[in-house]
Each structure stands twice: as C-alpha cells, then as structure tokens.
C-alpha cells in the first residue's frame, strides 16, 4: 500500500493507522492519548491531520492508512488547531509549572514564597520534568494561557497503598482505563458519569483494594501527567539511571528495570520505555522491591553476642569470631540453612563453604518440607509460559493469583478471552476468576473427591455434575491442555494425595503442568546442591546432633534451638527469640549482581546497581572472608564454573528412611450448626529471605493481610463486624482471636487466614469453624 505523508512517499505492508505509519517513518505527530499497546481512542485530538479529499481534520490515531492517501501533518491550520486544543487542556490542568515567570530560577534555586524551613519551590506536581503535557507545551512554545482556568478541586485520593491519585491533574486521555481493560484485563478502572462530572475509578466510590485491584501499577506507568504517582518516590524527582535487572520475588523471574538515584534504588518498572510499557509486572515486582531494599530496619553492622548483650563489632572481629566458631566444630555437625531467594553464585559458594569449611555439614532450606518437595517433584516437568498461549484448555487449581505471577494470570486471561475454555478450582476469587467457564468450590474434606470425580469422568465418562463432565471433556479433547497448580495447595491437608491425583489427570488428558512457586531461585538452588528435607534437619537439631547452625537468609525458628552456636547472616533482623551468637549483615538484591535460574532452565543475570546499606557485605565476600583467602578463591566462582556445576535435573531432597513426624492433619470436623464457616489457611505466600513481604512492607500488608482473618462483606454484615475489629474463631478444641478484614475476594461462608510465618494454626486445612464478634 502506498501513501504520501508530508510529500514523502511511503509504502506499508500491514494495515496501520496514519499515526503509526508516520511515527514509524520518523514523522512526528504530537499526541497525548495514543499508546502503542492500546486501541486508538482519539481523546486528546492533538494528532489531527489534513487528508486530501476528506472534510475536516481527522485524528490520525483513529484513521486507517489507505491506498493513495495524501496526508499533511504540519500545516499552519493544523498547528493552530493543536495550540487551541492544548489551551483547552490547560484550562483544566494547573499550569504553574509551565506558565510562570520564574520557571528557570525555580528549577535551579527552588525558591518558595511560603514560610517553610526548606526550599521546595512552589511546584506540587510529582511528575515535574517527567510530564508529557509539559513536553508538548514546550514543543509548541506556548507561554500564555488564553482561556480562563478552572480548577476541579477534587480531593486527593491517598487511601490506597502504593500510589496516590490527584484527578485535578488528569487530562482524560483514558490510557489508565484502557491499559487496565485491554492489557491487564482487570477492568478495575472505568470512566464514570459523563461530561463535566466524568471521573475515573472503580464502581461507586469504592477503594481500589475493594474493587479487587491487583496494584500492578500499569495505570501509573502510562499516565502522561502527574495525576497518578508512586507513593514511595513521589518527591524524589527524576531517577539518574535506568538499568535492566531481574525480579527475584517468585519463580517466574520477570525482566524489570531498576531506577536509581544517588546509588539508591528508588523504584522498579517493567522493561520498555517509561510511559509506554506498564502492565507486565505484579505488585511485588512493580512496587515492593525498592521498598524491601530500603527498609529502615535492615542490619547495618556486624553484631556479637557478649554475655551482657549485643555489641556492634568490626568486620575483622566478626570474621575472627566466625573463624573461631567454625574451626572448633567437629565434622558433620553443622546445619546450613539457605534461602531460595539468593543468587546462583551465593548458593554455590554456600554449598562449597558448607562442604569445605563446615566440614561436610548438611544444607537445607526452610521451604523444603515434605509437601513442598512433593510439589516440586511434580513441578519438575513444568511446561513453559509460552505453551499457555497455544493451549486448548486451562484448568487452574488453588492459584490465588491476585498479587503475584502476573505473566501467568495475564496468559490465562488472554487465552480465555480468545475462547480457550478455562476452569478454576479454589476458594479465592482472583483476577482470572471472571474468565472461568466454571468455578469449582470444594467443601472441606471434598477436595480430593473433586479430583477423583474428574479422574472417573476421564476414565469411563461417568460424572456427577455436568460441569465436571464439561471440564473433563474439554481437557481430553484439546491436545495441549494445561493444568496450573498454585502453591496454595502446599498448605492444604490433602496436598500430597491431591498432587498425585493431579498428575493422574495430567497423564490421562496429556496436559502439561505449570506450577509456579514464590521463591526466586528455588530451581537454581536445587540444581546446584544436594539438600536435605528440612524436617530431617529439625529432627537432628532436636536430637542434639548439630553443634553449629549457620543461617543464610533463612531462619525458620522463633526461639533458639539447642545448639552450641548460631551464626545469622542476613539483611533483615533475626527473629526476636533466636539470639544468634554472631549477626553478619549481608547485602540484598540489586546491591550485588548475580544470576537466577528461571523455571524454564534459562540463566538470567543482573548487575549491581546500588551500594549495600551500612556496612553490609555480599554473602560471597563474607564466606570467603571467613574461609580465608587461601581456601576460597573468588575466581573459582566464575559464571563458567557455576554453569558447569548446574545439573539438568533438580536434586529434590528425598526423605530418609526414618520418616519425620508428618503433620498429615486430622479429618475435618463435621459441619453443622456449631461450625457453620469454613476456614482456609495458607502458609506465607510471599516470602523473601526469612521475611514475610506482607508484614515487612506495610503497603503490601494492606493487600495480603498477613495474620488477619479475611471474610466476605456479606458475612461481616451478618456478624455486625467492621474491618479491624477483633473476631473470635472457634474450632473443635481450639479458640483463637484475630483481627478481621473484609474483602470481596473471599466467598461468603468462607474465611481465609494467611499466616505470617511458621506452621498452620489448625491441623486440618480447610476446616469447619465458628466466628463470633469479640465484645471488648
């Protein structure tokens, strides 16, 4: 197809809009609402062009290029229309940052006419210098307002975590609404009312949290003005550097970009140009990483436990003490706990350290319990995320993907939108639930029966319900169905049996499995070193077979076990009762480079972009410091040697002959008038280096509510309960008190408890309980 734009002859292959064609060929047409990922909207009307033979001035973003079209983009009339449009936008958008006599001086000296202690300037828009409207105004050289201004005087919306909204600065380009609808398919934002009353947000005056917002930050990324801004870096100004990196907060290891300012990590955004990419990350990758690294309670100096208490010591002293402790240990009497959030390099060094310096001690990680190993055994044969795009049917079990696994939920949602049948098993309404053809909600004790029904149906076609029949039918019919199993299953009583059944279903239907986990480098850890199941080690500690407990970013203890020495090496403070002999502050993600092994066997590398907090040192530095330079050469840990020692198979820990005491869980008590509610518990679903992200990052805690009992608004109304009030939970033989939280994503009749750390409160999960408002 041939057309002429600004006297240039252009040939295009695929159908495209005039704006796209022009931009692709280096012809600049100004626009504020167009976005490469989104459908054209024609809202800002800055991209108007003249097309020969057409009346008026069509917007180029909504006009498809046609054969023989003659387009002009830069005539005097067009410029005049655009200037008029900008004036109209500016009549409702505060313009003090652009139309002030003191703009130049303000930027340099930040003088202020208010009586304040610091010079801040009078600017109050957080996106100053990063604003597309500012850029357009500058480009057109507009220095005066021709229309009277109208300030909308809307209240600032600050009540949701992670980002603030000031719709006084909104220009209604609709990018946020479109990216939420089209790209994320969450549809939390919509344009409400019309005309002068037009507003953006969820239904009625609901908060984003209650509208089931995922807080992916896509709307914040694409906003061209300061209407949406990240809370954590609102007034920090422009970042100095943007570096590519990898997110370590779950097994999907998304690509991200890190924003740094003065050697400090200030934020993370998805790959691509700022303002153009947006919806690829989950809340953890988008907002939590920088908050995690900048936590104020990080350990900054080495500490040593003197008889009279902890004292801050120098690194030399700490190393000396560590050497003393490790030298006095007899062989095979140490246990090294490592976190699956560390890099391959760090894990490899830890393994080497354990073998040579700790004289053949055992290595484990608190996540490697009986149920998780069963989960990992199945996860070994995971398909890759790309296979989800080609799958013919998807069945997810206990996914709970609201605040994590964004690429996975996005793949499910876009497949379901294309017409791929999607079925969901589980109790929590997540972002994919709306796309499910059927949702299966099992009663306590029936989870296994559900899977059995599916298996029977697959084997002989007999079925109790038409829904299961449909599910079995479409899974069998499609050659490449996918079973998505979420790690919530690990917390359930029937986990191991259920995983067996899921494998059977996968075998019967020929479907692939996709099983994400909340650990950044668990696969890397398992392919680098042979580890023991954690129950076995805990048993050994109990039996007094361990003298030294070396904890590297992992500490599944609330009080000090009976061992001679405890060394605690982490970035975050140790659990209150652990009382380690030696505390060694380590650096975190972003402060040291490293590589992670993703779930599809690829190694992803990232660079150090910031300096470690305080006197923290990298794990490798600490290990080699303790070992002495002769024993561990850092050159020995080159990328090559690590790659060589990576095995193709995971060394999944195998239980010893002596099976540890397993908490198989009792039978759920029978329902009835006494216990009308169903409690579902989940072990810490968002873990990183011994910390529960929900507890450590208060804003994330508002979403994931660790330690809270979450119930449906309908049940809360019945119990006359408000958010934050205390609630009594009665289970057979047990009584506990929790703070209540109200969310729509828990179904009526169910209550959900996400544990902060440690084991579950009730043996059988799920189980029947009763709830009562606690009268104080």
């Amino acid at each position: 197809m041939n057309l002429t734009i600004d006297n240039r002859k252009i040939t295009i292959g695929k159908p495209a809009t005039v704006l796209d064609v022009a931009t692709k060929h280096g012809i600049d047409i100004p626009s504020l609402c167009a976005h490469p990922e989104l459908t054209p909207y024609g809202g800002c009307r800055l991209c108007v062009v003249e097309i020969e033979g057409r009346d008026g001035y069509p917007t180029s973003c909504t006009t498809m290029a046609e054969e023989g079209m003659i387009v002009r983009t830069d005539t005097n009339v067009l410029q005049e229309i655009r200037r008029e449009m900008i004036q109209l936008i500016l009549s409702e958008h505060p313009a003090a940052c652009m139309m002030c006599d003191d703009v130049e001086g303000c930027k340099v000296f930040q003088g202020t006419i208010r009586k304040v202690g610091i010079t801040t300037g009078c600017r109050w828009c957080p996106k100053d210098n990063d604003c597309e409207l500012q850029r357009i105004v500058e480009q057109f050289g507009i220095d005066d307002l021709t229309l009277p201004g109208l300030y909308r005087d809307l209240p600032l919306e600050k009540y949701d975590p992670f980002f603030d909204r000031d719709y006084n600065l909104c220009i209604y380009c609709g990018r946020c609404v479109r990216i939420c609808n089209e790209y994320r398919k969450s549809s939390v934002l919509s344009l409400k009312q019309r005309g002068k009353q037009t507003a953006i947000g969820p239904a009625f005056d609901e908060t984003h949290i209650h509208a089931n917002c995922e807080f992916c930050g896509a709307c914040v990324s694409v906003c061209p003005t300061g209407a949406m801004s990240e809370k954590s870096r609102k007034w920090w100004g422009d970042p100095e550097k943007i570096e590519p990196s990898v997110c370590p907060l779950c097994s999907l290891n998304c690509d991200i970009q890190v924003l740094t300012l003065k050697d400090k990590i200030v934020g993370t955004i998805p790959p691509g140009k700022a303002h153009e990419s947006g919806g690829d990350l989950c809340v953890k990758g988008r907002f939590c990483l920088s908050e995690l690294v900048n936590r104020t309670d990080r350990i900054l100096e080495p500490e040593y436990w003197y008889p009279e208490g902890y004292g801050i010591v120098s690194w030399d002293f700490a190393m000396e003490k560590a050497r003393e402790i490790t030298a006095g240990i007899s062989p095979k009497r140490t246990a090294l706990f490592i976190s699956p959030s560390l890099t391959l390099e760090e894990i490899y060094t830890a393994g080497y350290f354990s073998e040579h310096i700790l004289k053949g001690g055992v290595v484990t990680s608190s996540c490697l319990d009986e149920k998780m190993t069963a989960y990992l055994k199945l996860a070994q044969d995971s398909v890759s995320l790309q296979d989800l795009d080609q799958s013919g049917a998807i069945f997810s079990a206990y996914l709970n993907g609201n605040y994590n696994y964004a690429p996975l939920t996005l793949a499910i949602k876009s497949a379901a939108e294309k017409g791929v049948p999607y079925y969901q098993l589980g109790w929590i309404t997540d972002t994919t639930s709306r796309f499910a053809r059927h949702r299966f909600v099992p009663a306590p004790g029936e989870e296994i029966a559900y899977l059995n029904d599916i298996i029977t149906c697959l084997k002989n076609g007999q079925c109790n319900t038409p829904e299961i029949h449909e599910l079995a039918g479409s899974m069998k019919k499609s050659k490449n169905g996918i079973l998505v199993v979420g790690p919530q299953i690990v917390s359930l009583s029937g986990c191991i049996t259920m995983l067996d059944k899921i494998r059977q279903i996968a075998d019967l239907t020929g479907s692939g499995l996709f099983m994400p986990n909340p650990y950044g480098n668990l696969y890397g850890m398992l392919s680098l070193i042979r580890m023991k199941p954690v129950e076995e080690i805990l048993q050994q500690i109990k039996e007094g077979k361990i003298d030294l407990l070396y904890l590297v970013g992992d500490a599944p203890f609330t009080k000090r076990p009976k061992v001679k020495h405890v060394i605690y090496q982490n970035a975050f403070p140790s659990p209150a009762g652990l009382n380690p002999d030696l505390i060694l502050p380590s650096s975190l993600w972003g402060e040291t480079g490293g590589s992670l092994l993703t779930d599809n066997g690829r190694i992803k590398k990232y660079k150090a972009v910031a300096v470690p907090h305080g006197y923290a040192r990298s794990h490798i530095e600490i290990f080699s410091g303790i070992a002495g330079s002769a024993k561990i050469k850092r050159s020995g840990f080159s990328q090559k040697s690590i790659k060589e020692s990576l095995s193709n198979n995971f060394h999944i820990p195998v239980m010893g002959s002596k099976k540890p005491v397993s908490s198989a869980g009792g039978k759920p008590s029978s329902p009835g008038k006494r216990f009308p509610y169903i409690l579902i518990q989940e072990k810490n679903p968002h873990a990183f280096c011994n910390s529960n992200l929900g507890r450590e990052i208060p804003a994330l805690g508002e979403l994931t509510l660790p330690g809270h009992l979450i119930l449906n608004p309908y049940d809360a109304g019945k119990l006359e309960l408000k958010s934050g009030e205390l609630i009594q939970l009665h289970a057979p033989g047990k009584k506990m008190k929790f703070k209540a939280a109200i969310r729509k994503n828990v179904l009526p009749g169910y209550v959900y408890l996400s544990k902060i750390n440690g084991e579950l409160e009730f043996d059988s999960n799920p189980c029947y309980v009763n709830l009562k408002r606690d009268h104080v």
Binding site: V188, S190, K192, Q193, A203, A211, N212, R434
Partner: protein, 152 residues
C-alpha cells in the same frame, strides 16, 4: 429488598450471557427496585462476567439510571429553556432549601426525591413541576409549598 433481588436474579437468567444484555438488565432492575443498588451492580456483573466497574461505567453514563433509593414521591423540576426563563431555578432552590435535599438525592425521611429534568414537553405551561405522575403548571413558590402537603 432481598426477595426482590432474588426475583430479579431469576429473571436475569433468561437473558443471554453477553455484553448486549447489560442495558436491558439494568433497565429491568431499575423498574423492579426503583434504582441501581451496589448489590444489583454486583449481581449483574457476576452474571455477565464483567467487573462492577464496567457495569457502573456504562450505567452512570446514562441519566436514566439512578443510584440512590427513590423516595415515596418523586419531584421533577423542569429546567428547560421556557421553564428556566420564568424561574424554574428558583423552584429548584426552594425545594433544596426547604426540603433539605440536594438535586438527585432523597430526603432523610424518604418522603421526596428531587430531580431536575431538561424538558417535560409542555413549555406553554411553564414553569412546570412534576410530582409522581401529576404535572403541575405555572407553579410559583407558594403553590409549590402547598403542593407538598398532598404527598405524604
């Protein structure tokens, strides 16, 4: 109210599960319950596999849908050109002041809800006030205040 929502839910299931059913369903809901409550938005969104925001976005675009419970009687004050010229605005202000209610809302005793309309189509009778189904013509403030007593 709950019974009426159940009744509506049964009726809703006769509609196909597609986006095109949204407006007819909202109209039916308003006809049955008098307004679009958050529960209705939730029910309809669940049925059509939309989000509540999407349903509310569509519903709030049209002035035909209301989102607060109507009073026992409904006062509509015409502010079309003819009525506006002869003092429709003053009638609206009087209602707002004396009944302590804002346009589009309902008095606290649920007696009246107050709305402004663009034109009732009888401009010769301006200013026009409609209470429930009765049209009152050539209204002034004294007449307006007398009228209220007929509606309890």
């Amino acid at each position: 109210m709950k019974e009426r929502i159940t009744c509506f839910t049964e009726y809703m299931c006769t509609y196909p599960k597609e986006e095109g059913s949204l407006i007819p369903l909202l109209q039916k809901a308003q006809g049955e319950l008098g307004y679009i409550s958050p529960e209705i938005v939730e029910t309809v969104a669940d049925y059509l596999q939309l989000t509540e925001s999407q349903v509310f976005g569509v519903a709030s675009f049209y002035s035909q849908f209301r989102f607060s419970e109507p009073g026992r009687h409904s006062i509509s004050i015409c502010l079309g050109t003819a009525c506006h010229v002869v003092g429709g605005e003053i009638l609206l202000e009087t209602c707002e002041r004396d009944l302590e209610v804002k346009s589009g809302e309902c008095t606290s005793d649920m007696r009246f809800d107050l709305n402004r309309v663009a034109c009732l189509g009888c401009c010769a009778l301006a200013p026009v006030v409609k209470i429930d189904e009765d049209i009152h013509s050539k209204v002034n403030i004294i007449k307006l205040k007398e009228m209220w007593s007929n509606y309890e």
